[in-house]
């Protein structure tokens, strides 16, 4: 592979790449930039990424500083990013950028994660020689939840390029010229597409911000957890950002194989339930003479074991129903439990037909973005299928199975909670045990309720529509009495007299990977940060 040198550090590059595109993969080298974004076309207009090309690879240097975003990398090229000349060049571009910037960091949501702020701290003098009135515009709402504050705009044109080249709707345009140049929507046009949040993400300053958390929290307060979006079968890689155990936002995390740099707004705003404590099941409950009463864990387990024994439940009399948000590990453990404790039993999962949900109203230059929102709002359908769970679009098989009046119903999460038909049929079961964070409508019919963790409070993996197994991580502290569903399932096994110590999600997953089946050959480490494709799903 051809190589060039940045301050003597060798950097490999693909022919055709520019210096900054190659350097961008090395997070330890920081060349300040605004207009450059790996997912957008290069325009070289902010001029912040100036570097010195000491040697073009042919022994000759370039006397003028060059923008690293637009300079093609060449074999044996030598690039200086930190000498005095470069520092001075970057410093004066930064000064020009601040000439009309309002420096309203104290009330700006971007403060703390603002590229301009960072660069100004690195290069700025803390004192301005600009003695004239600055440009002033008003702020206004330009989309469902986007605020546009043009005073802060540094004219990097990322919003315009995203609208033109990625989403394709041309929502943002360039207006006027010179110092009056402005990026704005056309004639107060409101952006309505479902990828608006990306505009706030790519804005390097606080010109486009997300109204959802406007003025609510300072960006540096957030604790960030890399995880996966659970709002549909795509499984966009995201960062869950919380403060004091309250989620404020989800932001896309780069994964070239899944979502690149983007995510949709349905996923972005779909975290409200995680902050909900009113509908949350906080401690175990058991139904005593028709009434739900709080119980200790041991008592609940004891009662379940006693009832199961009294009923004499066998395989075909057990039905397990799993939630859309159950992880691969939970589903696996559920099947293990059915087999070990009852010698069998069917497990159902709400499998749904899938396909892109949104059809753009215009021909997008790149269909990728619109392939992100899927109709199947289940993050783990592929995992459930791979683990052999049953299910169909119209739930015909499940309804038939429920009509057989199973004795025991094991409910993981709150699946089919919106279906009175299923709930009504389920009521016929002698014993309904539910493991859930949010029992929902099942609360009325379940006999034992065991409080579980949400997907944001536990380790685990989901399998996305393309068969990619991706890790979720706990970003929030669960309520005290609730337990990890994996632990609950193992404790149930023990209570039913068939103890199996599999342990943590990692251990469960590795056990799954060691078994013949769709997951064979995978292990926790191989899944890593960016996921790994199911061996069977590999093309």
């Amino acid at each position: 592979m051809p190589t060039f040198y940045v301050d003597d550090q060798p950097i490999e590059f693909q022919p055709g790449e520019t210096v900054l595109q190659a350097v961008y993969r090395h997070k330890e080298i920081r060349i300040p930039h605004y207009c450059f974004h790996p997912g957008l076309k290069v325009t070289a207009q902010c001029r912040q990424c100036l570097v010195e090309i000491v040697d073009m690879g042919n022994g000759k240097g370039i006397p003028k500083l060059q923008t690293s975003c637009s300079t093609p990398a060449a074999d044996k090229m030598k690039v200086a990013t930190a000498n005095e000349k470069v520092k001075e060049g970057q410093r004066l571009v930064n000064e020009f950028l601040l000439v009309n910037h309002p420096l309203d960091c104290p009330i700006c949501d971007q403060a703390g994660e603002c590229d301009l702020q960072d660069t100004a701290f690195a290069f700025g003098s803390g004192h301005s020689e600009m003695e004239y009135e600055k440009r002033v515009y008003g702020w206004r709402q330009v989309g469902t939840f986007l605020m546009l504050e043009r005073n802060r705009c540094i004219h990097c044109s990322r919003c315009e390029r995203f609208s033109r080249d990625v989403e394709g709707g041309h929502d943002f345009g360039m207006f006027l010229r010179s110092h009056e140049l402005t990026f704005d929507t056309y004639e107060d046009h409101q952006i309505t597409h479902k990828f608006q949040g990306n505009l706030a993400d790519i804005c390097p300053v606080g010109a486009i911000t997300n109204r959802d958390w406007r003025f609510k929290k300072r960006a540096w307060k957030f604790k960030k957890t890399p995880t996966v979006c659970t709002s549909c079968s795509t499984g966009c890689n995201v960062t869950l950002e919380q403060h004091e155990n309250r989620v404020y936002r989800l932001k896309p995390r780069e994964n070239p194989e899944v979502n690149r740099w983007w995510m949709c707004d349905e996923g972005r705003v779909g975290f409200d339930a995680l902050n909900d404590r009113t509908a949350r099941l906080l401690e175990p409950h058991a139904r005593v003479r028709g009434e739900l009463r709080a119980a200790r864990w041991e008592a609940a387990y004891g009662a379940i074991a006693a009832r199961v024994k009294a009923l004499g439940v066998t395989g075909e009399q057990v039905l397990a129903l799993a939630d859309t948000h159950a992880t691969n590990e939970q589903l696996f453990l559920l099947t293990v439990l059915l087999k070990a404790a009852f010698g069998g039993g069917a497990a159902y999962f709400p499998l749904r037909r899938d396909g892109p949900q949104e059809q753009p109203t215009h021909a997008p230059p790149d269909p990728f973005l619109y392939s992100l929102i899927m109709k199947d709002k289940t993050p783990n359908s592929a995992g459930a299928k791979a683990l052999g769970l049953l299910g169909d679009e119209d739930d015909k098989r499940l309804k038939a199975a429920l009509a057989q009046a199973p004795k025991l119903l094991l409910v993981l999460g709150a699946p089919w909670g919106d279906s009175p038909a299923i709930l009504g049929a389920a009521k016929q079961a002698q014993l309904i045990v539910q493991i859930a964070a949010f029992p929902g409508a099942w609360r009325a019919v379940s006999d034992v309720l065991l409080p579980g963790h949400t997907h944001a409070e536990q380790h685990g993996t989901y399998t996305n529509k393309a068969g990619r197994v991706q890790r979720i991580r706990p970003g929030l502290r669960p309520p005290q009495e609730s337990r990890d569903p994996l632990r609950i399932l193992q404790e149930l096994l023990a209570a039913l007299g068939k103890p199996q110590e599999l342990g943590s999600a990692e251990q469960v997953f590795n056990a799954l990977g060691a078994q013949p089946g769709a997951f064979q050959g995978l292990n926790w480490q191989a899944v890593g940060d960016l996921g790994a494709v199911l061996p069977g799903a590999r093309a």
């Binding site: 290069v42 325009t43 070289a44 902010c46 500083l65 950028l97 010229r177 010179s178 110092h179």
Partner: protein, 417 residues
């Protein structure tokens, strides 16, 4: 008065020349095109132009033959020759003259150029305000089509060429070749970053050469009289004649055809008849407002690309603006920066923010305010525009503004003293 060396203006200067196809033919027109189509390969034309030493007359002075030889070959895409007739540099009005008075000489040059770079459809970009020039040139193009000098199988030699005029919408920046290309493609006219250069990916992503009107108008002479005859004119490395747009405080402003290397003072004194009303010379801008101003004592410099570059300024588009002793250089500086501020496309940072900041600061002096500190700041900010922008606009603004302050500091100081 010195005699003009007439190459480009030969027809225009002959009394009664109507500029029609008939008149141009009578004056020996379109013989060069015939010669080229008769026996020269495109490569021969490029070599001839290289040998002539012809340098671009649009401002940068890049050798034309070399520009053509950089064009990507065998790309499977069409090649384009685009004539830059935007002529937006303040002080320049020579191309307008060529369009108006001798359009066929230009068209012949354009056709030869298109043949040389293997272009089958050339575009002529003219600023929209020049309505008369557009009409005049269109009439000439129509004449040429009728006479089978354009279209299919020109002169029966199997060469096809279409020419289209594209009127610009009046932005200075669209005289910058890549902004011109964007504008031609129907986009907002903004310079592109280079590389890739237009010779590799220009109009519509195809190999493109953008040449000035005057540059192309020289081609019939070079073909007819030979590269040597052209190279014999002017000084080494600055061959030929060039059209000087002389304006300002001279007795006889106008377009003059001057051999390269004639001293700038001679241009002003002999061609322009000296400073008007017998006043003393104060300053000269030798190459359009993008060129650094010269003080009166600095004008004894040969007027060609290299000598002016050595003198710390540039010949640009050969637009000489003369200022007499009564001129207020602060006002000149302010008018200049007002222009640049208005015409900056705004896409890149130093130019967008810097031109307006400079305008505010120089405006201070115009208003009788300002200070030594602000004067220093003007110099510093103008210097920061140099070499940091995407196109040459930053250099074209920063250089002259710094020169005004450095060469006439006393005039600025007078304002606040």
């Amino acid at each position: 008065m010195s005699q003009e060396k007439l190459l480009l203006l030969k027809n225009i200067r002959s009394p009664g020349y109507a500029g029609t196809l008939e008149a141009y033919r009578k004056a020996g027109g379109y013989t060069a095109l015939k010669k080229v189509l008769d026996g020269m390969k495109p490569g021969d034309v490029v070599e001839a132009v290289k040998a002539s030493g012809l340098r671009g007359r649009g401002g940068a002075g890049f050798p034309t033959g070399m520009k053509w030889s950089f064009m990507a070959k065998n790309t499977g895409k069409p090649s384009y020759l685009i004539c830059n007739g935007d002529e937006s540099e303040p002080g320049t009005f020579k191309d307008h003259l060529l369009f108006m008075k001798d359009p066929h000489q230009f068209l012949e040059g354009m056709m030869i150029g298109c043949y040389a770079v293997d272009c089958r459809h050339g575009y002529i970009y003219i600023r929209g305000e020049s309505m008369y020039a557009i009409r005049r040139l269109q009439a000439a193009i129509d004449e040429a089509y009728k006479a089978k000098l354009l279209g299919k199988n020109i002169l029966g030699k199997g060469f096809d060429l279409e020419l289209t005029i594209h009127p610009g919408a009046g932005a200075y920046i669209c005289g910058e070749e890549t902004a011109l290309l964007d504008s031609l493609e129907g986009k907002r006219g903004q310079p592109r970053f280079k590389p890739p250069f237009p010779a590799v990916a220009g109009y519509d992503g195809c190999p493109t050469s953008v040449n000035n009107v005057e540059t192309l108008s020289n081609l019939p002479f070079i073909v007819n009289e030979g590269a040597k005859a052209y190279a014999a004119l002017g000084t080494p490395n600055n061959s030929g004649t060039h059209l000087v747009s002389l304006s300002g405080h001279v007795n006889k402003p106008g377009v003059y055809e001057v051999e390269m290397g004639v001293p700038l003072r001679t241009v002003i004194q002999e061609y322009g008849g000296g400073v008007r009303s017998g006043k003393k010379l104060k300053a000269v801008i030798p190459g359009g407002v993008s060129a650094n101003v010269l003080r009166a004592e600095e004008v004894d410099v040969p007027y060609d690309f290299d000598s002016l570059a050595k003198a710390g300024t540039m010949m640009g588009s050969s637009a000489v603006m003369v200022f007499d002793e009564n001129t207020d250089m602060v006002e000149v500086a302010y008018r200049t920066i007002k222009f640049f501020n208005h015409e900056s496309c705004g896409q890149c940072t130093p130019c967008r923010e810097g031109t307006n900041w400079l305008k505010s600061m120089i405006g201070d002096f115009v208003d009788g305010a300002g200070s030594e500190q602000v004067l220093k700041r003007v110099e510093r900010v103008a210097g920061n525009l140099l070499g940091t922008t995407l196109c040459a606009f930053g250099d074209a603004t920063g250089g002259p503004m710094r020169a005004f302050v450095q060469k006439f500091p006393e005039e600025f100081r007078k304002r606040y003293a």
